[in-house]
């Protein structure tokens, strides 16, 4: 514990170096803006910021992206409460109590509760992250390829089962992503696969190209098909924030604590992110909270639960990323990309080789959360003003960032063509209700999944039962099966329930 605290102390000192501090503030501001704009999702924002980090050192680059990630979970809260415009799906639950509270003339108080929730949730999850990361990393050093395959498989199935919507579509999307990752020269045998003689395909398809295309271009095309229609913003008399008193906050301490823990756990589960965390905690509060009957009528618990969980999911999502090299969400997948672009492979070794950098990122999360709340408190008016910015202009610049982002990965026009192709795929997926997230995570985790699977098969003479016979991988495989079976049981239960009702 002493080691962790001393490393964290060094991390804080590093954070106060001008370069890190500047990028921390920039990341917080840009993340808040991304959270406000309805056409720009959190993941897309982080993806688009990635090319700007190519020329940076790894620490400020990761500090910038992490700051964007954390502040993006708060950015859309004011617009949800004041105008009923959730900048992100994360903030949809805030409409139910936050907007209702604002309609009752308590907008300032509702805004104060969101800041308080983001602060408490963020700090609790940051503490959990710092406490758990090093022990988890040390434990992960004992992992071999079967364990890695089991963890990756668990992550991929969680994306499918937690994503909602059609399970078959999610599976197709996932297999497509894994297949994209198999393009190029095979790592085990050196055989070219699905390359069609193209040199760029021989090198494989970069997951960033897929992300930029599917999330960026695909989304802009979808919005263009809807004519870039922005919901007109109502005029709100006062845009002040009134913080709740300590006594008021203490009265709902259980909501803060429960939501922070649930949010962090959901963040740790690969594939589940801030959106799921905010919906789940709102559901938990509605079912088990002290004032469950009043949920939806504009009470603080309805604001605190989703916002606390959304921000606390960030700390949770960083744990598997840094300790195992497995991204827990779309945004952490981009942060993983930033690490790889700078030649660092996150995982248990990173705590030994780059401890300073890791703890600077940890410290930046603490500082970032506090800064985000300060900026959120004072800059509410200019932040909300962003909504007046025409969507066609914002989207044009998003497209441009997509072009530059895809081109800069390998300085190749072929990557631009691939990005356009994945933009079309993203658009078609959106239209046909195929989720994009499983495809993207499949593309990212595909190489790790394949290499750990093939190495295990070679090492253990094609004995697939090894995944179940080793204790850690066995437990994870059982969890994977549960994650797969649960949604099926839920669906079966729903069908039976509907039949009984009719």
């Amino acid at each position: 514990m002493y080691d962790i605290l001393s490393h964290l102390g060094v991390g804080f000192l590093n954070c106060f170096q001008p370069i890190n501090l500047i990028f921390l503030v920039v990341g917080i501001i840009v993340g808040l803006l991304v959270g406000v704009l309805p056409g720009l999702t959190l993941v897309m924002g982080v993806v688009l910021a990635l090319p700007c980090t190519y020329g940076m050192d790894v620490t400020p680059a990761i500090v910038l992206l992490t700051a964007m990630y954390v502040s993006g979970t708060y950015g859309g809260a004011p617009t949800s409460i004041l105008f009923r415009i959730p900048g992100e799906p994360i903030h949809v639950p805030l409409l139910w109590d936050g907007y209702t509270m604002a309609r009752k003339g308590q907008a300032a108080k509702a805004l104060g509760w969101t800041i308080c929730a983001a602060l408490v949730g963020g700090l609790i999850s940051a503490v959990i992250m710092v406490t758990l990361s090093e022990p988890v990393a040390k434990f992960a050093l004992t992992f071999s390829t079967p364990e890695y395959f089991a963890i990756v498989l668990f992550g991929l199935t969680s994306v499918v089962s937690l994503g909602g919507g059609s399970l078959t579509n999610a599976f197709i999307s996932l297999f497509f992503g894994l297949l994209i990752a198999s393009v190029g020269v095979d790592a085990t045998y050196g055989t070219p696969r699905f390359a069609f003689g193209s040199p760029i395909l021989m090198d494989g398809i970069e997951f960033l190209t897929v992300m930029v295309g599917a999330y960026g271009v695909g989304e802009v095309l979808t919005r263009l098909g809807e004519g870039f229609t922005t919901v007109p913003v109502e005029t709100v008399g006062s845009m002040k924030t009134k913080m709740p008193t300590f006594k008021e906050s203490w009265m709902i301490k259980s909501t803060f604590l429960r939501s922070s823990i649930i949010g962090t756990i959901i963040g740790i589960v690969p594939g589940a992110g801030a959106t799921i965390a905010s919906f789940v905690t709102y559901g938990v509060e509605s079912q088990y909270g002290k004032r469950k009957a009043e949920m939806g009528t504009g009470i603080p618990e309805g604001i605190v639960a989703p916002q606390t969980a959304a921000t606390s999911s960030v700390g949770g999502a960083l744990i598997p990323l840094l300790t195992l090299g497995i991204p827990g969400s779309g945004a952490t997948a981009v942060i993983l990309g930033a690490f790889l672009l700078h030649g660092i492979q996150p995982g248990p070794q990173v705590f030994i080789t780059s401890a300073d950098m890791v703890y600077t990122v940890f410290a930046s999360l603490f500082l970032g959360i506090i800064l985000m709340c300060i900026i959120g408190y004072f800059a509410i008016k200019p932040l909300v003003k962003i909504l007046d910015f025409p969507e066609s202009i914002v989207s044009t610049f998003i497209m441009l960032l997509c072009f530059v982002g895809a081109f800069s990965i390998r300085n190749s026009i072929s990557d631009l063509w691939l990005m356009v192709a994945f933009g079309v795929v993203g658009y078609l997926f959106e239209k046909m209700k195929f989720p994009i997230a499983p495809m993207v995570l499949g593309t990212i985790l595909g190489p790790l999944a394949e290499s750990s699977f093939m190495t295990t098969m070679i090492s253990f003479q094609n004995d697939w039962t090894i995944f179940f016979r080793r204790p850690i991988s066995g437990i994870i495989m059982v969890l994977t099966i549960i994650a797969l079976v649960l949604p099926l049981l839920k669906k079966f239960h729903e069908i039976r329930h509907t039949k009984q009702a009719t």
Partner: protein
């Protein structure tokens, strides 16, 4: 009803056909592996096989059990159609073509000129009509992108060919970028 079923089946049938095509390709990878070892085709074939199984399941489910919305009232459908947001298919096609055109022309015209034109045209296609705002955003946007990515981040963005390259070099010189 039958039409609705076919409509639902088509995407899965297309995915199935594509999977079969790639399966055939995977059979031709041609790598000699030691007897008993899994080859480089195993992983892609596993994924393609699973995709086909999922597609077959969805096709069979739709063909055998799908009851559709036919029994639901037509009034409901009409109401839903009336409530659906207005579609701008023309804009979408133009936007998609412009995206393709940008990628095609960026090596010929160079990043600077191509980006400026793209910014102007895409904002117009996006139904924005304030000419001065478009012009200002396009000029400032292009300059900002060039400075950030060519001077700060050192990305070697395309300069174009022939006279367009000369133009790009002139602009870079004016911006103080070597």
């Amino acid at each position: 009803m039958a039409m609705e079923k076919i409509k639902r089946i088509i995407p899965y049938a297309v995915v199935m056909l594509i999977s079969i095509f790639f399966w055939v390709l995977a059979c031709r990878f041609g790598c000699e592996t030691r007897a008993g070892n899994l080859g480089p085709d195993f992983w892609p074939k596993l994924l393609l096989g699973l995709t086909m199984v999922v597609c077959l399941y969805e096709i069979a489910k739709t063909a055998l059990f799908y009851r559709g919305n036919a029994l639901k009232n037509d009034a409901g459908e009409e109401k839903a159609a009336a409530e659906a947001p207005k579609r701008y298919t023309g804009l979408l096609i133009i936007g998609a073509l412009m995206t393709v055109a940008y990628v095609y022309f960026v090596t010929i015209l160079g990043f600077i000129l191509c980006t400026f034109l793209f910014l102007v045209l895409f904002m117009i296609v996006g139904r924005y009509r304030k000419v001065w705002v478009i012009a200002a955003n396009s000029v400032i946007g292009t300059v900002l992108f060039v400075v950030i990515f060519m001077k700060v981040v050192y990305v070697s963005l395309p300069l174009g060919q022939g006279p367009f390259q000369q133009f790009s070099l002139l602009v870079l010189k004016l911006l103080g970028i070597k």
